[in-house]
């Protein structure tokens, strides 16, 4: 009598294709050895697998295809600038870099306040699976969230520094008042002179969120400097978040900037923030509850920045700053002390 159960087809397939584990293999071979009929049955399965490799198929001419494809390969990677209407202007592959830049420069110069103008981006930085911080040629620093990229053209356009963002990034822009720094995403435009701000776009291209860490930022749905009849624009300052929806409507939200920055790279910046707000925000961000025990704790104001720190680390720094005791009760926390 067989001690091994009859193998199912999935196991037989694994066995015949060399995907079975040594144990499975040994068991199956033992099962086979028990009855010569079984080997014949296994052979039928083997034949089915073999037929899969020997089925006649069409022949395809690699050489002919290569000769057809070869002329399409130029050394110029194609970069596509987008108009604000989402149309993609694609330049012929064969154009040289010089000609491309010349046209981009010309278009930009001619139509520099025209919303339909096209920018030719000349270089690109992409993050892989980790955060990537890079310095741009104008000394601005961009930090890309994993899976994001920027294309840029910082000099040739003459009047502006232009960036095309896909994904999410934080920019620390080197101040240059004669050359505004303009970030374009699928949803809108961000225009600054020299500030630090975070931009997050969702992968579906539906919304763009901008929060300011330092300075002022103009967020608009048009690349033009001056808003016209069918465009809208807002100026936001630290602590504010501007959200552009897919129809170009811009909303300004208060107090959500820290959550956005935290979502970006676990950075938290508090600027003279009362401890009550700090506790609430930390509670939200770390999905827990933080209560203040003791009178006058709300009067304490925190100025600090945290990067990639755990809640325990952040609370212990706050505790040390204000002389508070941290009490951990399960997943919840209490801060106890005399206050400020």
């Amino acid at each position: 009598m067989s001690t091994n159960p009859e193998p199912n087809e999935a196991l037989i397939a694994r066995y015949l294709l060399g995907e079975a584990s040594p144990l499975e293999r040994a068991e199956l071979e033992h099962w086979l050895a028990e009855d010569p009929e079984r080997a014949i049955e296994i052979d039928r399965y083997k034949k089915v697998l073999e037929l899969g490799t020997s089925a006649p198929s069409h022949k395809f001419d690699t050489e002919k295809a290569w000769q057809k494809l070869k002329p399409q390969l130029t050394n110029l990677p194609t970069k596509e600038g987008q108009t604000n209407k989402g149309r993609v202007v694609r330049l012929a592959l064969g154009l040289s870099v010089a000609a491309t830049l010349l046209i981009a420069f010309g278009l930009f110069f001619l139509f520099r306040d025209d919303p339909a103008k096209t920018v030719q981006y000349v270089a690109e930085i992409s993050s892989g699976t980790t955060y990537k911080e890079s310095m741009l040629p104008d000394s601005s620093v961009v930090t890309l969230k994993p899976g994001s990229s920027v294309q840029y053209n910082l000099f040739e356009t003459g009047t502006e520094r232009r960036i095309l963002l896909k994904g999410s990034a934080r920019f620390k822009v080197k101040r240059n008042e004669s050359k505004p720094f303009v970030v374009e995403s699928q949803q809108g435009f961000i225009r600054v002179l020299g500030t630090t701000f975070t931009v997050e776009t969702d992968s579906l291209g539906e919304a763009m969120k901008v929060s300011v860490i330092e300075g002022k930022v103009l967020v608009s749905n048009t690349p033009a400097k001056k808003a016209n009849a069918d465009s809208s624009a807002v100026v936001i300052v630290p602590g504010q978040t501007a959200v552009i929806g897919h129809q170009g409507k811009i909303k300004v939200q208060m107090g959500t900037a820290q959550a956005l920055d935290f979502a970006f790279d676990k950075t938290l910046v508090f600027e003279n923030t009362d401890l009550g707000s700090v506790a609430l925000l930390l509670g939200d961000l770390f999905r827990t509850r933080i209560t203040l025990l003791g009178t006058g704790l709300e009067n304490c104001r925190l100025t600090a920045s945290f990067k990639q720190q755990s809640l325990d680390e952040i609370l212990s720094i706050i505790g040390e700053t204000f002389g508070l005791t941290i009490i951990k009760n399960g997943h919840e926390y209490s801060l106890k002390g005399i206050g400020c």
Partner: protein, 205 residues
């Protein structure tokens, strides 16, 4: 040259590295595209499109899998998008039957031709995912892991679907496979040399 080096060279604009990849994979990719589309011209067009895109987007190239899985996946997605689109337009027929070009049939005896013909018919009747997994394994020579990466499914699914394919095909060919042993000596000449030897050994066992 390994994948990482080839990708690096392509990213740096070396057409020779790109040509190596093209020559290596063009035909197998076309065969796979053809198995999905049943349209030779369209299959070649999509595979070429995937290669042109690979070149154009080389700066953004981020391949987490093997180059082979990446290429098959790109071709696979392109073809399935097209099929979906054709379905929407009502142009795609699920009941399409693979018609062999007689000239491309192996010049072998009638029984083997009959078996191949039955096999191809049975293969076409397999459910879509099941058939694609079987074809990636057998026609493209993919490991289970490579199939999982290409189709973005779990290895467990690959195992189950391969079992299912084997079960269905075995059952559909039941009237043709029993004669196998009697045919064995004659069958050896149809099989590839390596396969033939294994087959002979099994028969002799």
């Amino acid at each position: 040259m390994d994948d990482a080096k080839l990708i690096e060279e392509i990213r740096n604009g070396h057409t020779t590295a790109f040509e190596t990849v093209f020559r290596n994979w063009y035909e197998p990719l076309c065969r796979y595209a053809f198995s999905l589309l049943k349209d030779e011209t369209q299959a070649e067009e999509f595979v070429q499109e995937v290669f042109v895109k690979l070149w154009e987007k080389r700066l953004q190239l981020s391949i987490q899998t093997s180059l082979k899985a990446y290429l098959y996946r790109s071709v696979h997605n392109r073809c399935l998008n097209w099929i979906d689109h054709q379905k929407v337009k009502g142009h795609y027929r699920e009941d399409w039957k693979l018609q062999f070009d007689e000239a491309q049939m192996p010049q072998e005896n009638a029984e083997h031709r009959q078996l191949l013909h039955q096999f191809s018919q049975a293969l076409q009747r397999l459910p879509g995912e099941c058939r694609r997994i079987f074809q990636l394994s057998r026609e493209a020579g993919f490991s289970y892991r490579e199939i999982a990466e290409t189709l973005d499914i779990s290895i467990k699914t690959v195992e189950n679907q391969m079992g299912k394919a084997l079960k269905i095909l075995r059952s559909e060919l039941r009237d043709y496979l029993p004669v196998l042993a009697g045919l064995a000596a004659g069958a050896l000449q149809f099989l590839r040399p390596g396969v033939g030897v294994i087959f002979m050994l099994t028969v002799l066992m």
